[in-house]
């Protein structure tokens, strides 16, 4: 079931001026419900422009954005409701924190929704729990926290709105490998616990291969591929043709195949490669035994 559908979306920056730039051209895509979708592309491929269309922060130059089959721009005055349903966490979201306490900052979204004080408190605790923030941190100033904690506070601020779709633009950018894994694992847990639809933007193939069910590939404002992770990574040669780095391990398998070792197509984790190699080794042993 498709949660969000983009129909023939184009977006042009400053049209009619010398600085005119086509950021997106003729994009058609589906974001599957109850799944984690990864959006991959180079810097300048239009990723960030695309995510801002999903919650109505910007209006497409042409084309339609459908949420549950309904055009989000049908009633432009009610676009705020769409923003509560599609939660967007921008790049480096820790720079948007402003309240005196973590608690108040997480409550900003729910407060804008006009909820009761009790409901807001409930949601804040829930969001803190989901993002792994300790209850004792809630009364600290957000400016006293570490970088990773600040980012989790910012994500909690969006999760507290209980969005049906959670979109995150480069949630792991600028974090060390451990911080990156913590955030991505947290997002996967969040998806499993709440059954929400999640979309993660990244340019790291490795992360996307490990954490996403579906993959969408953008290049130069155009859609290159979309599908399940294994389907997309099976076309690793096409991916490297558009200049995207496929996961290291997939590249290794590709190189092995070129040298005559019959590795499977569409390997993108070390575990898969290990199993495939073990299988090959086994069959080879059987063959040599046969000769003896």
């Amino acid at each position: 079931m498709s949660k969000i559908t983009l129909e023939n979306i184009s977006y042009v920056y400053s049209p009619g001026t010398p600085f005119e730039m086509h950021a997106l051209e003729g994009i058609n895509l589906n974001i599957r419900e109850n799944a984690i979708t990864g959006l991959i592309g180079h810097t300048g491929s239009g990723k960030s422009t695309l995510v801002q269309l999903l919650n109505g922060l910007t209006r497409p130059t042409s084309g339609r954005v459908l949420l549950d089959g309904k055009d989000i721009w049908q009633e432009p005055k009610k676009i705020k409701q769409v923003r509560f349903r599609v939660g967007l966490v921008m790049q480096y979201p820790e720079y948007q924190l402003f309240e005196e306490t973590v608690r108040a900052d997480i409550a900003f979204g729910p407060k804008n929704m006009g909820l009761s004080a009790q409901e807001i408190a409930e949601r804040v605790s829930e969001a803190a729990l989901l993002t792994g923030l300790d209850e004792s941190l809630l009364d600290h100033s957000p400016f006293d926290l570490s970088g990773g904690q600040k980012r989790r506070v910012a994500i909690a601020g969006v999760i507290a709105m209980r969005p049906e779709v959670l979109v995150l633009d480069e949630p792991a950018a600028g974090l060390d490998p451990r911080g990156r894994d913590t955030i991505l694992n947290m997002l996967r847990d969040y998806q499993q616990k709440t059954g929400a639809t999640v979309m993660i933007v990244s340019h790291s193939m490795e992360d996307m291969a490990r954490f996403c069910d579906d993959i969408i590939v953008l290049a130069h404002g155009k859609l290159v591929m979309q599908g399940r992770g294994h389907e997309v990574f099976a076309r690793s040669r096409e991916l490297s043709d558009v200049g995207l780095n496929i996961p290291e391990i997939s590249r290794l398998c590709l190189m092995l195949r070129e040298r005559g070792i019959p590795m499977d197509d569409g390997i993108f984790t070390v575990e898969q490669a290990e199993q495939c190699l073990l299988r090959l080794l086994e069959s080879r042993e059987q063959r040599t035994e046969g000769y003896v």
Partner: protein, 272 residues
């Protein structure tokens, strides 16, 4: 946020781009003086012509320049109206109750519009559109260097100006980002009473100030790491040299000024 093209550098390879920035500052000052010398139709016509010539030789698209003028349309309209209604003269055109409009008032309004337009176009052609902000502050620092005798920290002022100019686009971009982030959390900046709108600015201003201070701190550290210690004994990477074309430009503007004075003397039509 998008319409701040007035006073932005536009890269091109015209003769105006290649003039020495110090000379361009001098030329701009002289040009401003020239706009105020104009007194009658002939001299204003020459002034308007000179502005058009400036745009043409600067190789900057006319559309961009006219777009920049749009920003001051209101001021021009206001000035024109004041002049039309409040200039007393001898040849009345409309006299109805308390409204008296004289031919002199219309001329005056027309002259003021031309003057303001040319003032903006001329200075932006000579300076902001064709000179990078860094070159401009460099030029100002050197032109104002004599003030050091009076213990005015000219270098420090120039450095502050350079940094301020450098960070305007960065802060604009930052503001847009923060606004989007808060809008994504349901913040509303466009509706409600004046007080609630002012309150809605807090979620933008606090992160903006925090990041401005953070940037300032980082910049100070980076400058110290490169042993910056103010202007004393500092040498320059690019040393400005006047070339013959600079003096030709100076001669042209002097002749232009003389031309305006001569045309003023001819005394045709209304004289300001």
């Amino acid at each position: 946020m998008k319409s701040i093209t007035l006073g932005q550098f536009y890269p091109s390879d015209s003769i105006l781009h290649r003039l020495d920035p110090r000379m361009k500052v001098i030329l701009a000052v002289l040009y401003i003086v020239a706009t105020f010398l104009c007194k009658n139709v002939l001299s204003f016509a020459l002034l308007l012509l000179s502005a058009i010539v400036l745009i043409l030789i600067s190789k900057i698209p006319m559309k961009l320049v006219l777009g920049g003028i749009k920003a001051i349309l209101f001021i021009m309209a206001f000035t024109a109206l004041i002049n039309v209604f409040f200039t007393k003269g001898e040849t009345p055109i409309v006299e109805w109750r308390f409204i008296h409009i004289y031919a002199e008032g219309l001329w005056q309004a027309l002259f003021m519009i031309v003057r303001i337009t040319v003032l903006i176009v001329g200075t932006s052609m000579l300076l902001t559109y064709t000179t990078t902000p860094i070159m401009l502050t460099d030029a100002l620092e050197q032109l104002l260097a004599p003030l050091r005798v009076l213990h005015i920290p000219v270098h420090e002022f120039a450095m502050m100006m350079t940094i301020a100019l450098r960070f305007i686009p960065t802060l604009v971009e930052e503001t847009n980002k923060i606004m989007s982030a808060q809008k994504a959390r349901g913040a509303d900046f466009t509706s409600g009473s004046l007080i609630s709108r002012a309150k809605a600015l807090i979620p933008i201003l606090i992160p903006l100030f925090v990041s401005a201070f953070r940037r300032a701190d980082e910049l100070a550290t980076a400058m110290e790491c490169r042993c910056y210690h103010g202007g004393a004994g500092r040498t320059r990477m690019t040393i400005l040299h006047y070339s013959p074309k600079d003096f030709v430009a100076l001669a042209v503007i002097v002749v232009f000024g003389a031309g305006i004075i001569v045309l003023n003397r001819l005394g045709i039509g209304y004289t300001m």
